[in-house]
Amino acid sequence: MTLPPLAYHALVGFVVLNVVIGMVTYVTLLERKFAARMQSRIGPYYVGPHGLLQPIADAIKLMLKEDVVPTTADRWVYNLAPIVFLVPCVLIFATLPFAPGLGVADLNIGVLFFLAVSSLEIVGLFMGGWGSNNKYALLSAMRAVNQIISYDLPFVFAAFVPVVLAGSLQMSAIVAAQQGVWLGFVPKWFVVYPVIGQLAFVAFLVATLAAENRVPFDILEAESELVAGFRVEYSGMKFALIQLGEYAHMIGTSFLAALLFLGGWLGPGSEHALVGALWFLLKAMLVFLVVTWVRWSFVRIRVDQILAISWKLLLPASIVLLLATAFWVAARGGHGV
């Protein structure tokens, strides 16, 4: 057990990376099954029992597909974009502690790192849109940049409410601050923190939807106008990488929501690292399912409506909320909980 730190981190990083990729493949199945049930369908069914091998079949199909590069594309940018897109999306898992002591690196600025890195994906996204030399891809990439700029601020402000309440940017400390119960049975998660918690959670979820470019904020891949958005020219493995990145980002954000608001790995039996990790996964999947539920409940809204929601409602509300939280914590002598 005395591995050199570098080798240890490399090993843990390797494991986490593979777990994340495996999770992403199966989350696609989860989403498809869930979406199907919302539309009274069954969803993938024939590959494996109840369609359980469908993600693997999809992955094999994508790997075997021909890799088409448009002749007019900017080759370097075009080929590099999926990697630039994927790396930040996977990198956000580096700071996530899945259970006490189970994670790659529990930075003391974990939340800040997460938020900063997760918005880096826009660079890869814009590279893809620009390098494809396709008007739809470019339009989509510009819309995405527009949207990320608008929604990163409320996203950060909403995420900082629990940070202020817990008094730390370190993820494990935030979870530790949510330990204990109120009135004997209500867990002290920040989502049940009176008023502030719920408002911050809703703001965080909405901003998450927009930051992940999910319905109803999916103008960058509006099928009716932009075909498939910035990845319209991608095929085969590059397309798979982009999909992987998107889902990894989505799951990462779900984990963050579970950690900031739903008490992370806390739950009965969470003294054991594996049970804690299971609780964490369960909560993150719950958040993911809510996001999917939203996806199948709403229509896409217009660009101006998206911007209006961000700048006129969400941003002021989240700033006010953050300030109110700060005053509240200060009035209590620096203790959020």
């Binding site: 199907a36 009274s40 939203v294």
Partner: protein, 247 residues
């Protein structure tokens, strides 16, 4: 976004979100309505318009088709081609081809068929990778007729249904229940008198009995119907002509 006042708008938004998500949540709890098609087949309706097929007479084992070419004449996309084979007692179809890939499943050929020879099946799965497989000849059509469940609809039944409604012309019969089979008493009367005195239900024995005693009875029926009945299908030469020709 603000036009009605901030709180009104926000309240409406929240209520709309709740309603939309409630609808999807209710759907989530429902059973899926998917029918896993190739393994589970749903019950098709009686008058399902599926594949076309030719029939045999169940009693004599002869082909029902008399090669009268009525279906060829009426077919809107002209996918049916028939050649008649003249014979002693009755005529046959020498060849009968149906280009199913161009068929529009309008059922008109079934409706005009005087001998219930061409019918529709309760099946539609004839998917194939080769277009030529959908050019059906006589043998193939007969094979299809034995392979699948036939639809309820046959030419004679459909023509019965198309008789005019009874209360308009015969108030005397008003008290008795009006149904598709009973709604054309005067047109079927000669037939019932001549052929099927045994059964009060005219529909059941008809397709078989019609072919057994065929040509002259059909002709007399058509002739009497032309005089007595306002039924617009009866005077059409289609019903009497081929049988008359065969005499």
């Amino acid at each position: 976004m603000v036009s009605d006042g901030f709180w009104t708008e926000t309240g409406q938004l929240v209520r709309a979100v709740g309603r939309a998500m409630g609808v999807t949540f209710k759907n989530l709890l429902r059973r899926p309505i998917t029918v896993r098609y190739p393994t589970v087949k749903r019950v098709y309706p009686d008058r399902f318009r599926g594949l076309l097929a030719l029939t045999y007479d169940p009693q004599t084992g002869e082909e029902n088709c008399i090669g009268c070419r009525l279906c060829e004449y009426i077919c809107p996309p002209t996918v049916i081609k028939v050649e008649m084979l003249k014979a002693e007692k009755r005529n046959f179809a020498k060849s009968f081809t149906l280009e199913l890939y161009a068929c529009e499943f309008c059922e008109l050929c079934v409706q005009v068929c005087p001998t219930d020879a061409i019918i529709m099946m309760k099946s539609f799965d004839l998917a194939t990778a080769d277009r030529r497989e959908l050019l059906l000849d006589k043998d193939r059509l007969h094979a299809l007729g034995l392979q699948f469940d036939p639809s309820w609809a046959t030419g004679n039944r459909l023509r019965d249904m198309q008789a005019p409604p009874k209360p308009a012309k015969a108030p005397a019969h008003a008290p008795e229940p009006v149904s598709a089979e009973q709604s054309s008493p005067d047109r079927r009367a000669p037939e019932a008198a001549s052929a099927a005195q045994t059964s009060p239900d005219r529909r059941a024995p008809e397709p078989t009995s019609a072919e057994q005693s065929s040509p002259d009875r059909r002709a007399s029926e058509a002739a009497s119907a032309a005089q007595t009945s306002p039924d617009r299908r009866a005077p059409e030469p289609g019903e009497g002509a081929p049988t008359a020709k065969s005499e």
